[in-house]
């Protein structure tokens, strides 16, 4: 991972292009997610009660293509952002190489399954 304080530092420290691209991705996706996620929380938790998320309400909402797109964008971007963030943590705290490989394999598998589940759910109605 990159421990940089500025973009110039990041470019110097990055061992690979992929690592630098992830560093850039975290900033760009973060900027987009600020609006998407705070908007989502405001609309579905603060503006209305959480108990209003009944089966019928959820199905009605997700039938509309605009909400499908909005929610899938959150799902994809926030999972990529979150999984990459957790990868930084794993690399920091799981010090032994074989353990790190196992932890990552299991973690990526679970995240992949949940992403697939969410995507199938969104596009099945």
């Amino acid at each position: 991972m990159i421990r940089a304080r500025t973009f110039t530092d990041a470019r110097q420290q990055a061992h690979s292009n992929a690592e630098l691209n992830w560093w850039i991705f975290m900033r760009i996706s973060g900027l987009i997610l600020v609006f998407l996620v705070l908007g989502h929380i405001y609309m579905t938790f603060i503006q209305v009660s959480e108990a209003d998320a009944t089966y019928i309400a959820v199905v009605n909402k997700l039938q509309q293509p605009a909400w499908k797109f909005y929610d899938w964008t959150i799902l994809a971007l926030s999972l990529l952002h979150g999984v990459n963030g957790a990868r930084y943590s794993i690399e920091d705290y799981v010090r032994s190489r074989p353990n790190r490989a196992w932890v990552k394999t299991i973690f990526y598998t679970i995240s992949g399954v949940i992403f697939t589940l969410g995507s199938i759910g969104l596009f099945s109605i």
């Binding site: 940089a4 900033r27 603060i46 108990a51 009944t54 963030g85 957790a86 969410g118 199938i120 759910g121």
Partner: protein
């Protein structure tokens, strides 16, 4: 700039809030996806969310997301502008103040609704 000062606390809080939000997100996707298996499966789980403790939990999730968002913007300002690193301490306290303000507003709305009887 870093060890034991505002910069380090900002970093610790960013990492903890990030991991907490990810944990919530994964469970949230599973829980919402239950609608694929019909109304009964979905509502069986969602009825338990009407307990007040889950509303209070969501206030905590909101606080975590607001902090992570605003501190993320602080990081972006630090990374891409020359002045960012110079004012990172002031920006950290600004982030904390705005997070407290947003959390107070969320609590006011949600707890008011709980006390008013609509879960």
């Amino acid at each position: 700039m870093y060890r034991g000062r505002e910069g380090q606390w900002a970093w610790v809080l960013h990492r903890l809030s990030g991991l907490a939000i990810l944990a919530y997100l994964l469970v949230h996707v599973i829980s919402i996806s239950l609608f694929m298996f019909g109304e009964q499966a979905y509502m069986a789980v969602h009825h338990t969310y009407e307990l007040p403790i889950f509303s209070l939990g969501l206030i905590a999730v909101t606080a975590g997301v607001v902090y992570h968002s605003l501190n993320g913007l602080r990081i972006i300002v630090m990374d891409f502008t020359g002045m960012g690193v110079l004012y990172q301490r002031q920006m950290f306290w600004g982030v904390i103040a705005l997070t407290l303000l947003a959390t107070a507003y969320t609590s006011f709305v949600v707890i008011g609704r709980l006390l008013g009887g609509e879960a």
